[in-house]
Amino acid sequence: MIDFLLSLPAPVLAVLKGVAVIGVIFPVAAACSMAERKVCAWIQCRPGPNRALPPIFAWIPGAWILQRLGVFQLMADGGKFLFKEEPFPDHVNRLYYTLAPVIAMVPAFTTVTVVPFGAYLGRGGQVVPLVLAGVDVGILAVFAVASLGIYSLILAGWASNSKYPFLGGVRASAQLISYELSMLLAVLPVFLWVNEPGAAGSLSLARVVAFQSRPGFWGGAWFAFTMPVSALIFAVALFAETNRQPFDMPESEADLVGGFHTEYGAFKWSLFFVAEYANMIVGSAVFSLLFLGGWNLLPWLPLADLLERLHQASGSALWLHPAVAGAVSVAILLAKILATLFVFMWVRWTVPRFRYDQVMRLGWQKLLPLSIANLVAYAFAIAFLQR
């Protein structure tokens, strides 16, 4: 099976891998909307959506668990979005109005290509990352493409030809510019450290994980421990970049009705939300890879060591098989991504929205100087350490 897959022509293989990854991201992004509703409900001491159960599934033992978790509600909502009427307000620019949700999806799914989502042990025991496009630009590609997503919000705000979407679009662009800088500056120390003098330079995310998998006390420590300020700035900027509360300025339903998607409904509206959650998933993945050790289960316990220990403990060589190792690493990274997503939701239902001027002040007057100071401090420290 694996040999057959590997013998396929490279373009076919690339399309297959792409479809497989999107086939995972899209349902997970959709499921996030239900997770969001359930987390919200639990935080507010409610059970949340728990009623939908189609009779054809009712006989399955254990179906009630899915019912209580709202899984069928999610399916019903998805079906509804597909089949309900697509309203076109009279005053919109129809071409751009339709284009905006599509543009929202494209960067959300494009960034996935450069994000490694697992690793396996190749011949000789070296860790080979699983990634759609193992290019060296890595993080640069993520930043470059992810910021394109903001165009969909601006386009939606403009094409809707109405004041609240317009304000939402303007806020989205202002917020992106304010936080993109801090985010980049927060990540720079990581790559300064990873790219040691003498080695070939790389911005690949897999390289960052490999750096967090080295032996020794400082080698095995995750960057969240060695660079807490960077991690913090990156996390805060990530909230702002993905337009999540407390920074959901583009949407802010209390003062802008629905923000950029006020004039949207049905499937186009749901596309915006799948794109938002896909962005969150990619953002969480990047955060986990950069600061939380990627596919290493625990600090100071790299994937190769973990598999070796499992191999020793069980006496089975199965653990070293590439497919098993890949599944283990993907599961570990996925667990970290889901945990980060939960924190996203947890914060959303805890913290009230910042005022627009507070968002701007926080971005320009607090985070940006802090990230610059952080960069300078780490630049000196790294220069001293790697002398």
Binding site: V39, W42, Q44, C45, N50, W346, T350
Partner: protein, 180 residues
């Protein structure tokens, strides 16, 4: 009016970063997240109705199975939204309660009009109409939302009686005491 001047001390550095407050708030929400739900899953779980609750108005019978309403129409007159409509009738011959003189031939309460004020219960000299514990009235048409006499008795059932007013009267009449 007394003026209380509140000392506004400047925020500390930790407070200005928001993080201690956010962490405290997240601890609070986490406790709620893990705690039990405050809500009731309604059709399966029903709330406990306290005594004295003013639910749907009903007609009741006394423990002897006699209908207590004598169609005096006081409730009809007092009803603020005019939800009650009574057609008085005579007591059937040979029922053993001839001395009561009247009983409702028809008794309709339009639940689309009823405001659950309880004035009918308060005004009734016979203690025949009670707002009981049922709080949910549904129907598919306006006609269904009108409670007729049989439905009112079905909802009301029998309530304990302390006076047995008409039995006392009949006993007095039998003793020759006459009506009073």
């Amino acid at each position: 009016m007394a003026v209380i001047s509140v000392q506004r001390r400047p925020l500390s550095l930790a407070e200005r970063t928001y993080f201690p407050q956010i962490a405290g708030a997240m601890w609070t929400t986490l406790k709620h997240l893990l705690g039990p739900a405050d809500t009731m899953e309604y059709p399966e779980q029903r709330p406990a109705i306290p005594p004295g609750y003013r639910g749907v108005p009903t007609l009741v019978k006394d423990p002897n199975g006699r209908e207590k309403c004598v169609s005096c129409q006081l409730c009809e007159f007092v009803c603020p939204p005019k939800a009650i409509r009574i057609t008085p009738g005579s007591v059937p011959e040979g029922a053993g309660v001839d001395h009561v003189e009247k009983a409702p031939q028809a008794f309709d309460i339009d639940m689309l009009r009823c405001i659950y004020c309880g004035l009918c219960e308060e005004v009734c000299p016979e203690e025949a109409i009670f707002l009981q514990q049922q709080y949910s009235m549904t129907g598919y048409s306006r006609a269904e939302m009108v409670n007729h006499k049989d439905r009112l008795y079905e909802l009301g059932g029998t309530l304990p009686d302390r006076h047995f007013k008409w039995d006392v009267k009949r006993a007095a009449e039998a003793r020759g005491g006459g009506r009073h």
